[in-house]
């Protein structure tokens, strides 16, 4: 752990630490907040921070966006290309996919929230939990199984 406090390590890894702070803020919102919409927003923050972390894997100091120069025939100019330093494009591709997955999840979550609001008349987790506990109690009361005459 001693490494942790060395200046060189810190300057090289401070970005990761900041991403982790953001991730954990998002995760905290998901786990702590009881409003269902807010949970989804927390999830978004969590995911976006993970995306930043991913993209930072591909970053090369002094590099540029991986879009190559073109020659006059609209082909990639392979000689000009050699002189430029590019960042790694693979994490970008993965994150494009992940962003799409994220919006898909968000939209499904929001649709569920709308339905939950319509049938429970609240979007607060603790209120819903109370209603559900009552429903479970009622069920158990109504369908109370006569255990005593089994054995």
């Amino acid at each position: 752990m001693g490494k942790f406090f060395e200046l060189q390590f810190l300057t090289g890894h401070i970005h990761y630490m900041l991403f982790i702070v953001l991730m954990m803020t998002g995760l905290f919102i998901v786990v702590d907040k009881t409003n269902l919409v807010k949970k989804i927003i927390g999830l978004n923050i969590f995911q976006v921070s993970v995306f930043m972390f991913y993209v930072s894997i591909g970053k090369v100091t002094g590099g540029t966006a991986p879009i190559f120069p073109m020659d006059s025939n609209y082909h990639v100019d392979q000689t000009a290309m050699q002189t430029i330093l590019y960042s790694n494009p693979l994490p970008h591709v993965l994150i494009l996919t992940a962003i799409v997955v994220g919006i898909a999840t968000t939209s499904l979550g929001l649709a569920l929230i709308v339905r939950i609001r319509e049938s429970f008349n609240t979007i607060d987790e603790e209120d819903i939990l109370q209603i559900e506990q009552k429903m479970t109690r009622d069920d158990n009361q109504k369908y109370k199984y006569p255990y005593k005459d089994i054995l």
Binding site: P66, N88, L94, L96, I99, A104, V114, R117
Partner: protein, 184 residues
Amino acid sequence: MIDTFTNTVLFVMLVLTALAIVRMERLFAVVMLSSVFSLLSALLFVTLDAVDVAFTEAAVGAGISTVLMLGTIALTKPVAKTPRHTAFVPLIVVCVTGAALVYGTLDMPAFGSLDAPAQTHVGPDYLSRTPTDIDVPNAVTAILGSYRGFDTLGETAVVFTAGIGVLLLLSGLRRRREDEDDEI
């Protein structure tokens, strides 16, 4: 130097936005702030050279998902309640996860280093092969569509799944001639 400066400013703003989202209870403000968060992160993606990602994040995070969230609030409730439970357990979960992440960073290659495994193993192959294999200037499109085209097919399917899911939950499939609907 200017990179470090912009990154730092963006980080500070991102963290502040995130903290504001934690504190706020008016959902309209929260949604707007989350839209701001997305835009700021899009800026950060630009400084990290991920222009395609930045574009997508701006279109999705600040665009579509904000619209959807506003739509949801209109259909639900505008104010969030303060949780009645204590934040003790959530804090523990977050701290443990954070500690695991920090533990992981200890052996990570330094940010931006050229000799990191990601910069020496497969990544550079994409850059060097794209001009001859596919010959499109945007390496991201080349990987997205061809080298890892199957992932993108899966991604399209995810979007399609979300569409079907929302229809199942909220409206139902429409056919061209409703009178022919096989509803019994």
